[in-house]
């Protein structure tokens, strides 16, 4: 059917649906294509600092070969995935009780608490990381307090002057957990809040104690929230650049720092692209698993 006029309903809906697609193509799909293509180029000292091979097969696999053979890259990936995994698990362990608590408090309290979770976003992210630097430093009162507590607990022989927190992997995980906790809590809360509380009562009525009710009813029904929150923390945490460069161990960099180094310091765009592509593949895999989980859940009836 031909549109009757320029403001025809059908035409508008196509336009409105088309806009996000256009956005995704121009700003997500195309850049990924460019980066993917670059990862098969070779670096040169020119502008732009890369070129493709002049002869068959035109594409160079050197970058990926280096990626899999040089232990620096492999270690960076390992550290990134390790840090992101630990941070995600910690966010879940801290965020789940908080999200659950948010659904169990009176409405007025709930609003205040939600506000407090979102409030940190009103301050600059960098400022908050710098604040943690101030707290974690060897001469800070916070560090003195932790050291003091430690010294009280352990025998005299183990006493120390201060705890080295800054420039360790621990500091990275700690600040990542702090920064990304809201991204775990909010999707979890949205999920838990929708759950029908009479299901808990039904389970209790059928003989389950509260812990059993949680394991049988609340936990399985909150799986979509756990996965959504987990991805929102894991994916950016794995590619995190700012936090490890400010509080992390510089001799044991994460992938983000490596990409930044290759791109900026070394002017090796193709290598930076190859690492990015590898990271993308690693991060997209859990996303695809999630999509499959969801479609299976819908077919099986979690909804």
């Amino acid at each position: 059917m031909k549109p009757a006029s320029w403001f025809d309903r059908r035409g508008w809906s196509d336009l409105i649906i088309g806009l996000p697609y256009a956005w995704a193509i121009v700003f997500i799909f195309l850049p990924i294509c460019i980066v993917s293509a670059l990862s098969f180029a070779v670096p040169i000292l020119n502008s732009p600092p890369y070129e493709f091979l002049k002869t068959w097969p035109y594409l160079s696999f050197d970058n990926f070969q280096r990626l899999f053979s040089d232990s620096i890259y492999i270690r960076a990936f390992a550290v990134s995935l390790f840090n992101a995994s630990i941070a995600t698990v910690l966010c879940l362990l801290i965020g789940y009780p908080m999200a659950l608590g948010l659904t169990r408090v009176p409405k007025a309290v709930n609003r205040v608490l939600l506000m407090m979770i979102v409030l940190p976003f009103w301050t600059s992210f960098l400022l908050r990381v710098y604040a943690w630097i101030g707290l974690m430093g060897n001469n800070s009162w916070f560090n003195h307090l932790l050291t003091g507590l430690y010294n009280v607990v352990v025998p005299q022989a183990w006493h120390i002057a201060n705890i080295q927190i800054m420039y360790t992997n621990f500091a990275v995980i700690f600040v990542v957990v702090y920064s990304y906790l809201p991204f775990m809590i909010l999707p979890l809360y949205a999920n838990l809040e929708k759950l029908d509380r009479t299901l808990d009562e039904a389970a209790m009525d059928l003989g389950s104690r509260p812990v059993q009710v949680f394991l049988d009813v609340t936990l399985p029904l909150s799986m979509p929230g756990i996965i959504a929150g987990g991805l929102l923390v894991f994916i950016p945490a794995a590619g995190e650049l700012v936090i490890p460069s400010l509080v992390g161990n510089q001799s044991d960099p994460m992938v983000g720092a490596i990409i930044s180094q290759e791109f900026g310091l070394n002017h090796d765009w193709p290598m930076a692209s190859a690492i990015s592509v590898a990271l993308l593949v690693i991060l997209v895999m859990p996303l695809m698993a999630y999509t499959r989980f969801q479609s299976r859940a819908e077919a099986g009836g979690t909804r």
Partner: protein
């Protein structure tokens, strides 16, 4: 069967609620309620929303603790006993089926806490599926079932543990009219077969009347009348109950005199003196409420044979419902009397009982007039 399902007074006090009060802050949801329910009885708590019936049900289930008073189930004091330790199961209004479990798993959920072998458990689930005729749907998830099927899963799940007491919160509330009728007989049959004591909470009087052997009518936290469906309808104890159950014509009346058989009352709003069969003693109050149900008024276009309780009026309007019609007849004194007439003849245009502006005679049997000493 040694029990009479319609017995008005339970021989045993299987469930005993003793002066139970429940307060939420300043609000008294249940106010000094006492009642006994016999073993194997199908008991209904009937009332409009906010009357305290659901709170009472939740106290029986253990989700709420009484502020004062006691609840005994099979002789055991339920004070401080958690829902998961009570021999009570509940069918929730929303059914509360676990969406992530199959029908089978839902029904078997409560059994995992019982000391049973797996085969015993499977047998019980199979028996429950049989009982509610859902064998073919065992592997489905709740969202793949119709409303009526979900309702039956909820019933089967609540029955699976063979509780001493089954609570049903508005069991038919979410079903459409056709399904309700079928389901209420099913529930009554299942209750009879299993012999489990049922307590039904409902705001629907029809549901309460057809299901229950006895009904407690609740209003603002207390029980206004507790009796069989028939007695509640025919012999309501108060003006409130009379107007709550079914439809009724209510008029202020004045006691003129009493003799052995009848009370003679003047009803100014109708402009006549009526005689009502006396049931029990009137306590000398002269201001009364006189009530009679629309279907107990006989309407004719010819003067009736007996002159007792006969009135004349004009049909103001009427509603035709098929099996019967509701007429509103205007009395000379100005008030309207509602009359229900069965359309027992297949009517052509001219032999309908009456139509607009027709002069009609109304007659009420003295036994059909109810008198209450409480006023509006």
């Amino acid at each position: 069967m040694d029990r009479d399902p319609l017995s008005a007074t339970p021989s045993d006090r299987f469930i005993s609620v003793r002066t139970v009060t429940k307060q939420f802050g300043q609000f008294t949801a249940v106010d000094r309620v006492s009642l006994d329910i016999g073993k194997g009885e199908l008991f209904a708590l009937l009332g409009s929303s906010g009357c305290g019936k659901t709170t009472l049900l939740r106290m029986l289930a253990g989700f709420e603790e009484p502020t004062s008073g006691q609840i005994f189930i099979d002789g055991e004091d339920m004070a401080g006993i958690a829902p998961y330790h009570r021999p009570v199961n509940m069918m929730f209004q929303s059914y509360a089926l676990f969406p992530h479990m199959t029908v089978e798993k839902n029904i078997g959920y409560g059994l995992k806490h019982e000391r049973m072998t797996k085969s015993e458990r499977d047998d019980r689930v199979a028996a429950m599926l049989d009982l509610v005729q859902l064998k073919a749907f065992a592997r489905r998830h709740p969202h793949q079932l119709s409303g009526g099927q979900r309702q039956r899963v909820a019933l089967a799940r609540a029955l699976a543990k063979q509780p001493k007491l089954l609570l049903l919160d508005e069991p038919l509330g979410a079903l459409d009219k056709k399904l309700r009728e079928q389901t209420q007989f099913e529930i009554a049959n299942i209750q009879y077969e299993t012999g489990i004591t049922f307590v039904v909470v409902t705001h629907d009087q029809e549901e309460a009347m057809t299901l229950a052997s006895r009904i407690a009518i609740m209003d603002s936290g207390s029980i206004r009348q507790l009796d069989t469906p028939k007695n509640v309808y025919e012999f309501p104890s108060s003006r409130f109950v009379a107007s709550f159950i079914g439809s009724v014509n209510l008029f202020d009346a004045e006691l003129v005199r009493q003799d052995d058989q009848f009370a003679h009352i003047a009803v100014p709003e109708i402009g006549v003196t009526l005689q009502a069969l006396r049931r029990g003693q009137l306590h000398g109050k002269t201001r009364l409420t006189c009530a009679f149900r629309p279907e107990k008024v006989h309407m004719s276009r010819q003067p009736p044979a007996s002159a007792v309780n006969t009135m004349q009026g004009v049909v103001q309007d009427f509603g035709y419902f098929g099996k019967d019609s509701l007429y509103r007849v205007k009395m000379p004194a100005g008030s309207l009397i509602r009359v229900n007439a069965t359309n027992d003849l297949r009517a052509g245009d001219d032999d309908i009982v009456a139509t607009w502006e027709d002069e009609v005679y109304l007659a009420i049997d003295p036994a059909a007039i109810m008198l209450f000493e409480d006023e509006a």
